[in-house]
């Protein structure tokens, strides 16, 4: 067994602390990087370990112009992504020319007891400098008593518009949600980073 020697009161080679030592509240579970990916699936790490989970999305860039980044849940480990959902959607936008602003409900972007995918970043542009970012909070996915609530907020650049989307709703099931899939409505996820955290 090797010994570590203290250097300036630090243990420079330590890469892992024991479970009894808190590493903070946001615990990174996994990171996935898109590279012309049809889908990005999280099929492990979503369980009863934490009462809530947070996904962070960094510079999600589509292959296809003006397509929506969306998600669905699975109750069977990722074999099927088709959980029934009821959701709300609203957004605010402002274009670079300063000629158009709006705040309103997106009736075409919500779901009512639908198994379809729910968009969280609607209409991302595929220009070289265009992308979307977001945070998605998923509550208690392993509950077998309650429906599973989620809420997200995103920001994107699309067709010279700065757009801020808000989504909330629930997976209307008492089965566990143990996998989540992300994809674009059309074409691949050209690039981007998604991180999954568990909240202590």
């Amino acid at each position: 067994m090797a010994l570590l020697f203290a250097k300036n009161n630090s243990l420079s080679a330590v890469t892992e602390l024991p479970a009894s030592v808190s590493g903070g509240v946001l615990n990174l579970i996994s990171t996935q990087t898109a590279s012309s990916s049809a889908t990005i699936d999280f099929t492990s790490g979503i369980d009863s370990t934490y009462k809530s989970y947070i996904f962070k999305f960094y510079d999600i860039h589509p292959a296809t112009d003006d397509t929506s980044f969306e998600f669905n849940g699975s109750s069977d480990g990722g074999s099927n992504y088709n959980v029934t959902k009821t959701t709300t959607f609203f957004n605010a936008y402002h274009n670079e020319a300063g000629s158009s602003t709006n705040l309103g409900y997106g009736a075409g972007s919500d779901l009512a007891q639908s198994t379809s995918f729910q968009r969280i970043i609607a209409g991302v542009g595929n220009g070289n400098d265009e992308s979307g970012v977001a945070t998605l909070h998923l509550f208690s996915p392993s509950s077998t008593t309650f429906v599973k609530h989620f809420m997200s907020v995103s920001q994107r650049l699309s067709q010279t518009y700065s757009v801020n989307d808000y989504v909330a709703g629930y997976f209307n099931t008492t089965s566990v949600i143990n996998a989540i899939q992300f994809k674009f409505a059309s074409g691949n996820v050209d690039s981007g980073l998604i991180k999954l955290y568990g909240v202590t």
Binding site: M1, L3, V25, K51, T86, T88, H137, H149, M151
Partner: protein, 209 residues
Amino acid sequence: MAFGLVKHNNNSISAITTAGQLTSGAMTLIKEQTASSSASISFVDGSGGVVLDSTYPIYKFEFINIHPSNDGAKFNFNMSIDGGSNYNVTKTSSNLEIYHYEDDSSSVFNGTSGGTLQQGTGDLAVLRGVGSDNDQCGCGTMFLFSPSNTTFMKHFQIRSVRSQSIDYAGDNLFCGYGNTTSAIDSIIFRMSAGDIDSGTIKLFGIKGS
């Protein structure tokens, strides 16, 4: 200076149980409370391990699966400046309300005075009208800024999502302030009617630097 030897096990340290001066991240879990037919759940600075003072400039509450005993009851909060003896801080707030029915019959997007206060001392909603069906509940987060400040009023931001008693998904963004320059040292959560049948509330502190 004496150094003890620490057993090294595949680049992990297995014998340490406290981190001492090691950083534990910018956000710290202060207290978690679980409701079980509870009339209220309160977080009082200095009581039961609760810290709600100048230690952190921002506090965050997380609400998980709040389930009421009474159908359609609101999940409310109020603040105290006297250690929880009185929960009656004057507040002014706003409410952006969005909902969508499961049968797709209606959706609403509205800035509304419903669920708000105008210099009122009553309770304010975190969740408006949670269903009491076995599978219905509500979740959300609340940020409370600088509660111990004695110069400024005390701002808060809430976002919550719920399965409403009449079967819709409801999203609310509540913002406002406790209109007092006294320190806020206690928060109470309770339903507008009946008990909090079940649910979890977590209090986190967020470091300023």
